[in-house]
Point group: C2
């Protein structure tokens, strides 16, 4: 599965794997794909450096990338505390009420929230980049708009390709104008932040909108046949996130959550603003229902919602409060029914791709 882009990056398969776990990213790169480590959970630059050191030791020299969340517009001199102060008391009370209704225990005194949104703030993302540019990463992806012009320039100075996620052709064109190198077309069915256009329609639309820039198909892809579909739609590769959540190398915070993911069907996700304030696909839970409830106060805009719910999400995960327990995940969750190694998943992807190509060729009368 070679494309111009996979050759440029020096990987055997144009399969990009996004994951918050270094062990998963490294295993994807070792398997012949391109592992992309999500940096959003690293609040302190030192933590990111430790993970990148680990990646260096465990990728066997294979290339890998980093995904940050960096808004293109800068808000000067705003701290996390300033943002915290903007959260209305009604919303804080609602969080308390929902947690109390489900009997969710408090965190112990001084126990930090494991789930941070500080990586969403530009200062934090910039300090992450200062760290990242010391490592031989090959790709810098931004999950939220185009990165600022100086970041793109700095990446290019380091020989790093810049990718950005887009949920519409218009959004993709803005990225191209900003000078990025790769567009990740994120379809409606994807886990995490998504728009409303499904991959079947979005992928070719984005390919045409940014031609000749390479496009990766994202959303609805977790099998070899879905990879073949993405390639047929004009993508130069595919971007998979959800499928890695249940690999053995992943470090999800809760066994109950893993069981929930394995049991969920394709209809058990929802696009909700509950987690970050922007629509993101995730497991539908009583937590998302509470935020989508017209009788509730509704969600706050990003980044307030993320700050508002950070501790609550930690508590729900720590105490495994089943009805509230969720995670960003795409509609392919319905096909994630076992825990396997990254290598086993990856081999299934490449073999399934070959089988799908055989099938297309038979129907096209080429075999």
């Amino acid at each position: 599965m070679e494309t111009e882009l996979s050759k440029e990056l020096g990987v055997r398969h144009a399969i990009f794997g996004f994951t918050p776990f270094p062990a998963v990213a490294a295993a994807i790169s070792r398997a012949g794909g391109f592992g992309v480590l999500g940096a959003v959970r690293y609040a302190a630059p030192g933590e990111l450096a430790r993970s990148l050191d680990w990646m260096q030791e465990h990728t066997g020299g294979a290339p890998y990338g980093l995904d940050v969340v960096m808004p293109a517009r800068k808000v000067e001199g705003v701290s996390e505390a300033d943002v915290e102060a903007m959260i209305p008391e009604t919303h804080r009370q609602y969080v308390k009420d929902v947690l109390a209704r489900h009997g969710v225990p408090e965190l112990a005194e001084g126990e930090a929230s494991g789930w941070r949104i500080t990586g969403w703030m530009e200062q934090v993302a910039r300090s992450q980049l200062d760290v990242a540019f010391d490592y031989p990463i090959k790709l810098l992806a931004n999950a939220l708009g185009s990165p600022p012009a100086d970041v793109i320039a700095r990446a290019h100075d380091h020989g790093i390709l810049v990718a950005a996620l887009a949920g519409s052709a218009k959004h993709a064109r803005r990225h191209a104008e900003a000078g990025i190198d790769i567009v990740v077309a994120q379809g409606y069915e994807a886990g995490g932040h998504t728009g409303e256009i499904a991959s079947m329609v979005l992928t070719p639309e984005v390919v045409r909108a940014v031609d000749p820039l390479p496009v990766l198909a994202a959303g609805g892809i977790g099998s070899g046949e879905q990879i073949a579909a993405g390639i047929a739609l004009g993508a130069q590769g595919v971007w998979l996130g959800s499928v890695w959540l249940t690999v053995q190398e992943a470090e999800l915070p809760s066994r109950a959550l893993i069981r929930k993911i394995l049991a969920a069907g394709s209809g058990d996700t929802v696009r909700s603003r509950a987690l970050t304030g922007k629509p993101a696909r995730q497991l539908r839970t009583e937590w998302t229902d509470a935020w989508d409830d017209p009788a509730g106060p509704g969600t706050l805009p990003m980044p307030l919602q993320g700050l508002l719910v950070a501790d609550a999400v930690s508590r729900i995960q720590k105490y495994e409060v089943e009805p509230l327990l969720g995670t960003p995940v795409g509609q392919i969750v319905g096909s994630m029914n076992s825990e396997r190694s990254v290598r086993a998943v990856f081999d299934d992807l490449t073999r399934g791709f070959e089988r799908a190509v055989d099938r297309v060729n038979r129907i096209a009368g080429r075999l």
Copy 2:
């Protein structure tokens, strides 16, 4: 583009084209695809017979099918008037208010509504079938659940294959148990009634759920590359509806509507209950906004909503009231930018499919 199903039906390409217009259905069959005529707009059996006579004369012996809307559950002895009587006055008043706000003129005295939902009622669908079984149709499709058992048996007695649309694997399994022959997997991005699972995820899921029954991929398919994607996902063919709306042979009721379709982007549709009471993808208009408005009375269940709005939709179309003018159409509307003949569209589909197969083979290292 041959599959077992296309061979069984005796067509060159496994491309199924659903359309309410006999001239379009006939042209699809003549081009080497399989034209399926939608019967829902025929209130009187005589009208359907005239269209099928016309089809017989204009398909040049090529096979074609019929699509009806028949609920599996029967409501005995209920007339259209009985159903009309169930519509609340608040909803009738809301229709009047929205139309008045936009200055929509009344229909002339005795002028019939051009848009009927009578085809949605079982008695009407059955009288359509009595007509249809006199013609050599090869496929009977049902857009709303599995057809009743006796209808399936009758179709099979006539050597007619039965297809049913499904928006989920569960729904598809019910069809298979009912004894249908083909499942049309209708993705979220499709025009008309749709569920929430996108084609990229739904198609393989339905293929697995009803194996070995053949599945047609529907939703998001309007180009050869999208056909190749559907085939890669395991479908034995594709089912296209929206793409035929703007062909030269179509008889849409309004030039203004055609212009609106040609101008619309992929983001200009909405899944709304405004038209029938069930979620159906259509152009987003001030009409759909009025029904989706939390300050309004909301929609009625099927079939009440369809009856409620039938005359209003006719008036909006007749007087071409732009802000309210809409139609069921899928997200591929963004790629429908010119009026061409069925033959030109069809040739584009088959050529685009071949190009997509070439591309997949290059990336798979097979070329």
